[in-house]
């Protein structure tokens, strides 16, 4: 078993809700409980998949880990060192070891800069220049399957897949060891999606990268991940080895999520399918007790579901789930 590269403990990130002026007067504050007490670890060289519905806090978690957001509470350890309070130069040093790839390659790339500038910027910040810089840019472009001729082009002159390659090259420029990939293939067509998934996996092997792979497409997540974390309303519902999550999901939410995936070539999908009712409640005032209780399809739930948050319990080695029925 390799050691954890990243470990988070009880991580929370609340956003203060935008208030109207009279609310400021009355002094009433409302919080969005985007990430609400998440703990897990990511081992060196491993890919951990983070899944959950839109708004459950996946991106917020990824960004808080990278210190792009200030955590509200909890601890983040990177390579054994607590990084909650790093500032200035130390933070800059950290940034070269942790990087992020965004979902929308277009929005995340400056439209007025050439590819060369975009990829070169993080390198320049690290103090690289001249020949060395130029050679490194070429090397990076080659690594992500682009060519020298692309150096002088602008983002709009690329296809979606190529833009995502530029985004990957930019993230890898500083030789990070940990990469948060926030929906890196969600905006791409299937045939291009497959190219990017393969590229990310190749790069992982070559450079020994560790990924936190955020996605809402469960078949993609199951494909790339060693372990999977299932989130709902800012909390972990279930986590464990990828195969186990898919072959024997424990939490009702995970079961519903898996059962909702449209199956290619499956004839009578409606039989035996769990269709959840309603949608995710607002993270402004999440339900008390188990956060899933408003949509949970279990009949005759124990009363505890409505007033006591279920703890994450290790049912099988390394496989945790938070549900009162599993206690």
């Amino acid at each position: 078993m390799s050691s954890p590269l990243l470990e988070i403990k009880g991580l929370k990130k609340y956003f203060l809700r935008q208030q109207a002026f009279w609310q400021k007067w009355t002094g009433k504050k409302e919080y969005i409980y985007a990430v609400d007490g998440v703990s897990f670890s990511v081992n060196k060289g491993e890919t951990v998949g983070l899944v959950g519905e839109s708004g459950c806090g996946k991106s917020t978690l990824g960004r808080t880990i990278l210190r792009l957001y200030e955590p509200t509470a909890g601890e983040i350890y990177f390579d054994g060192e607590k990084i909650n309070d790093l500032r200035g130069d130390e933070l800059l040093q950290l940034r070269r070891r942790m990087q992020i790839i965004f979902q929308d390659p277009f929005a995340s790339l400056n439209p007025r800069q050439t590819v060369e500038k975009i990829i070169g910027l993080p390198l320049k910040i690290q103090g690289m220049k001249g020949r060395e810089l130029s050679e490194r840019i070429d090397e990076l472009l080659e690594q992500v399957g682009l060519a020298r001729v692309h150096r002088k082009r602008f983002p709009h002159q690329f296809s979606g897949g190529q833009r995502q390659r530029v985004g990957i090259a930019r993230a890898l420029a500083v030789n990070p060891s940990f990469v948060v990939a926030d929906e890196p293939v969600s905006a791409l067509d299937v045939s291009i999606q497959a190219q990017i998934i393969n590229l990310l996996q190749e790069l992982q092997e070559k450079m020994g990268l560790t990924y936190l792979f955020i996605a809402h497409d469960l078949s993609v997540v199951s494909y790339v991940s060693d372990r999977i974390v299932v989130m709902y309303l800012g909390q972990v519902m279930e986590m464990g080895p990828a195969e186990e999550i898919f072959s024997s999901p424990q939490h009702p939410y995970t079961k519903a999520l898996l059962s909702s995936i449209p199956r290619i070539g499956k004839k009578n999908p409606s039989t035996g399918r769990i269709i959840l009712e309603g949608s995710v409640p607002s993270p402004l005032n999440p339900p008390a007790g188990c956060k899933f209780n408003t949509r949970c399809f279990i009949k005759n739930k124990p009363a505890a579901c409505f007033h006591e948050p279920p703890p994450l319990i290790e049912g099988a080695p390394g496989h945790y789930a938070a549900c009162h029925l599993l206690g």
Binding site: V190, H216, L218, Y223, P269, E277, S279
Partner: protein, 362 residues
Amino acid sequence: MAELLKIKDLQVHFFTDYGVVKAVDGIDLTLQEGEALGILGESGCGKSMTALAVMGLVPFPGRITGGEIIFAGRDLCRLTEKEMRRIRGKEIAMIFQDPLTTLNPVLKVGEQITEAIRLHHEEGDLSPASGRRGFFRFWEDRRRREMAAWKKAVEMMEKVGIPSPELRMEEYPHQFSGGMRQRAMIAIALSCNPRLLIADELTTALDVTIQAQILDLMRRIKEDFRTSILFISHDLGAISELCDRAAVMYAGKIVETGSVQEITGAPFHPYTQGILASIPRLGEKEYRIKPIPGNVPDLGDLPAGCSFFPRCPYGQAKCKTELPPLEEAGEGRQVRCFYWRQIRAQREEEGGIGGELSFAGD
């Protein structure tokens, strides 16, 4: 079953400053009464433009430059704008890819559904005239019509599964979640009781759990109302769950049609095969995806022969210069590839034919 819609050699071209973009380049499709047909294809391949052509709503600088769209015996391309408007209102309804073109953000959802109902029903069939004579009759009738439309709207919202519809009628679109908004759009589309419902990327922006709800709803609409559905999506999973048949588009052309089982279980066209090989299979960790190399060609500058040639593993010299025709490859089955017979033979040898291949963890 009778043929409801038949598209023959449809062409939609955009005349831009930098040349002609062949968004739809010779499409042939048939949709039977009561059938759900899926149109699968990657971004920009012309799916929406095909649908908009059927609606008579191709945006400027685009134009239908050729072909026929026969709907219930009439060629829609030959109708006047006024006749077309009647068809759009009563017989064909479309749920647009961009929800903002359907839902007005400053009007209450209830008002919008009521409006759609009033537009699409003759004065008489919502509520019979009051029979009252004299001065107040006009107002009286009008109020009754409004009440009836409102009641019908509540009914529609209930049918598409919007909880506590009376309360929800008073809300604005931004107060609806993504899935609810989709339901409201379905309600508006169904309010005219159309014979053909076109749904453009209906479930694309939704979470899987909500997508499952909407697909379930669409399945019920298909069964209960016997509405024919043209379901446009780039998600093969969604298509294979809802549809009976599927048409695969690539660069403005149909490259393969067939039953959903044939398309997903034993595709003949190299592009369809490539798509299937690109999709990770749930729970089959050993299965390695195989991407299609390269990119989709530019529709303003298509290669001369087969548009898929630059990315095709089977391509020969002939493919580079000659356009393969859409050939019959079985009952209700068509393929646009010179070598589909060889590809089929090869698949048979490998024992992959007849839906034996299983995908996505069956």
